[in-house]
Symmetry: D2
């Protein structure tokens, strides 16, 4: 066997998402290896370590940094624990792939941005993985190419079969719509001006605490109107689609694909039932792009901490829109040259 120079990645958080990333880095990604698992829950850490035998286990990020075993950090804890991890990692000058959200609110996100700016250039890539999905990318290329003329509308659909007991009404925005708040402006090349929420008939099969589905109307600064059906009690499966209305044509992504069957009087194609299969390749592509960027010195190959801050601003307006009628303005924030 050779002694190649793999990127030594410390994964912070060994829950479902973290364990998934540890497995991905160990078995799928080229040029990286998990050198450290940072997880205070010892049982979890031990379980995750089984797929990354070479990794040391730490209870705190500071200890992993001190041990000198990290070239880069992948943060996969819940969002409320991000800032305490990002701060020491940034202070150590480490490149970071941080699962969304950057932090739970815009104020803390701005603090992270300020901390990062001291490093002279961006070190944080944010895990909005849709930007790495083949179809979202193809759609963006179509927008940029102007082949179908100007983009006029974007119409998104995000349907989950169900959500866990811990899922609250505001998470419709902060946990689910947040993906649209990043990817739609990215597709359209324009930031968000306002957000409004409309309430269709409530799904009586959803938990009583959730008034859903909702229809979210998002105005972008260039005039493009985005509407998103956010539906977390759809039961039939997991589905994320987008339709773009251009001046001279239409484009649509997220449609059924794969093995086609005829049985029992029907033609059918399996639909996804979870994001882990729907976006499996997007996660792989995202992490590979990040590893490649860190190895070649560019550090970041996707959405930045600034995009995380913008998403936090939009989420705050979106949460207000859940209970206010009419559009809620999203504060405009000019992108600093630092993040150009």
């Amino acid at each position: 066997m050779s002694t190649a120079t793999d990127l030594r990645v410390g994964v912070v958080g060994a829950g479902i998402m973290g364990a998934d990333h540890i497995d991905r880095l160990s078995r799928t990604i080229s040029g990286a290896a998990v050198s450290a698992i940072v997880e205070p829950d010892a049982a979890r850490a031990a379980a995750a370590a089984q797929t990354a035998p070479g990794a040391a286990v730490f209870g705190r990020i500071e200890d992993a940094i001190a041990a000198g075993v990290l070239d880069a950090v992948l943060v996969a804890t819940p969002g409320r624990f991000h800032e305490p991890v990002l701060a020491p990692a940034l202070e150590a000058g480490l490149p970071i792939l941080c699962e969304k959200p950057l932090t739970p609110d815009s104020a803390s996100s701005l603090r992270v941005v300020e901390l990062e700016r001291k490093l002279g250039r961006p070190h944080i890539q944010l895990g909005f993985m849709r930007r790495f999905d083949d179809e979202y990318r193809a759609l963006r290329e179509l927008v940029v190419s102007k082949e179908a003329g100007d983009l006029l509308m974007l119409r998104g659909v995000h349907r989950n079969p169900s959500v866990p007991d811990t899922y609250t009404e505001s998470m419709l925005i902060t946990d689910s719509v947040v993906h649209e708040l990043d990817v739609m402006p990215w597709l359209a090349g324009s930031p968000i001006r306002s957000i409004e929420v409309k309430h269709p008939r409530r799904n009586a099969l959803s938990p009583e605490r959730l008034r859903e589905p909702i229809l979210v109307l998002i105005e972008l600064e260039n005039g493009v109107l985005v509407d998103v059906e956010m539906n977390v009690g759809a039961q039939f499966g997991y589905q994320v689609t987008a339709e773009a209305v251009f001046q001279t044509g239409i484009a649509r992504i997220g449609q059924p694909a794969g093995l086609q069957r005829w049985a029992d009087g029907a033609f059918r194609i399996a639909e996804h039932v979870t994001y882990t299969t729907r976006f499996a390749r997007a996660y792989d592509t995202q992490v590979q792009a990040w590893v490649d960027a860190v190895r070649d010195g560019s550090l970041v190959a996707g959405p930045t901490a600034w995009d995380g801050y913008l998403a936090a601003l939009a989420c705050e307006a979106g949460v207000r829109a859940l209970t206010e009628s009419g559009p809620v303005a999203v504060p405009s924030a000019a992108r600093p040259d630092f993040y150009a």
Copy 2:
């Protein structure tokens, strides 16, 4: 040849739509014949009469009635000429198939309703042909069956390649969205509570007088939320689709069908470019259903004058919504037993 007892239909108006109906009644519909063409423009009347050799030509509906050649009337003039035709036809006790709209406004529609009520039972069927489209019918059956649970949302798309010079901004509502204002409540089994219009980025390829496309948000009284993309400068083709969000699943109609081709690096299916092909069968089915209903004495087999009045009320709110922000309430109007 036999001497069968075909329904003698007088067609009022021999423009594009009227000529199409004359041809349909003469060549496609079972049990009916065009006995009269009522059209003040003599050249038009003569041209249309060529496909209905047995038809007499009249300049005014009153003369056709007086001539005793009518068992029923099909009204295909522009909407502003409907009331003066409907009035004498109703007075003569004739069954009527009236192209939409019933009349251009709710006040005149209500006058027609009052006139009809004197006849003791409905005599007017209104030409909202979508209710006769196979796929809209299948979707309604799914709603009624509750097989996928309650209906929560309806999402409509209506795209035209372009519109003629005579098409004005308010016609986005009164000429185009009006179909949705009838068919969506019919699908959902609930009348309209309010209408709101959102403006995406304007299509710079559309005529300057038109601020379009628009996104129309329609609340129904049962809580179902309807959104409709109305787009009359879509250029690529003619497309009418609907997507229904249920408690446990989704349904979609209006998708590409027919001969599939592979050529030049692409798979493709022809899309419609005009409503005349998209709804060809719906028109046939509608007129056949009406002819059958008149012959068997039931007189009406579809939307009534009351549905026309409701659509007029909704259109008036919709036109206001084009320039007002926020939802515009649609007056509620309890359906009289007469139209139950």
Copy 3:
């Protein structure tokens, strides 16, 4: 009601197919009425007569002719009873729409052809309804247009959920593949040169008497190769498709269409389960075209008795091919000018 001059059609045979045609002529077709039902089984005749109140009932075609109530004849009896009906109808000079097959074998078909030739021009239209299916027609237009270059191959699929107890091995050819033996040469513009049958693994769920599915290889005189999967125990549904391989592209017909649903982890579209829905419109179009042709004096608007004779020749070769290995030649028969 008017006294229009509807075509007086005598329907011979009031089984499933005959009853269906009686209903169609009475309720769907423009310009025709059922004036006579010819059916020896009195109960059947009475049942069918309920949908055609003006029709007289006869036990024999000769009596209906003698009664002078026929302008034209639609023959819907089993094929072995066709010749005794066609002969007197031809002698009476009546136009005929005859369900396939023309007769059960080529010798009797040739006798019918000879009889018809005495009338100076074709009077028989044969009920190969696929030629009136919208998609088969679109495919033929594509072939004729040469838009995709020359046609090289045709690939047919004919799948039935199951067949009745009366269905025998040879009926795979004479009852089912016979449609392909007419429509494929029609699509390709070339007669059949030979037929060969290959036996895949037998479907153990099919009745023991049937060795099926089969793969039928048909060479046309212009070199186009046709293969047809004939499968009468497919269980999942009824499916008829065709794929055409051209020099520069591919075309395909018969794919799933209509309302699309998502439920239980799958996207699905209902598939047909019977030919009556799959070809409902083709039957309507066929009968309307025939009625129009008879009324305008052209008498025939589709496949002729000669096409029936060619199909009989091909069926005889096809039945031999069920048990012989290698291609079985189909006798060539130059189309007489009479049928040009």
Copy 4:
């Protein structure tokens, strides 16, 4: 950076396929690095080495072996050069991923098999990458599950836009159909009994030396009938599909997927134009599976040298079938326990 133990792979052949594998091993595959490039053409070797900076360049495999820089070998030269590479690599006891074909004929393939058997267990994985395609795998799972009953027929389509000048008639079998000769028996779980070739109308746009497309009929020993349309002048794009006929249903793979567009009166989806995009993921999955197998000591994770020998036997019969009429028997060869 860490000093992980990557598998040191020597890639033999740096043509299009070899360069592609060098790039894949360097940038996509986890746990492997290109340690040697074996290529007599110095310019080619230098070009390929740019994507694998750590790789040494050799003119002969023997030298690379002697240098002690190889843990495993990936052979990507043309098939006629395989045996002289496989022999020394086997003698050195190295695990090998060998692009198809194993060798150009069954006699030489058998020699390789004999050589390999001396090593006590299989060391060669053969590059029939379709077995690693997600959809082929899903189809095989369906076969194995018996969920749709027994498999009765397999229907393959392999269409290339065009082929290079070096492509000869026999390569229809040895270069193209060979994939079906491996994957169809694998899907059906049964070896080949005979091969027959039928000639449709020749595509006049194809080079004169090629009599194509062809229809290949393949009988498997379990009675399943396979037909394959092999078409290397299809022009419109690159398409590989399969349809499986089961007792109770149908399954189909290789259908259009990805971004959907409406433009210019048509709905469309881009079709592939080359195998490199159609099977991009299959190649990645194949090489990753092989690297993982070598690292974990199982050495082989896919088709073996024996499968290559069987394909060679089938190809020899297939080439004869190009000019002989009727089925050509394929010699049966019982799989040795060694390859069980």
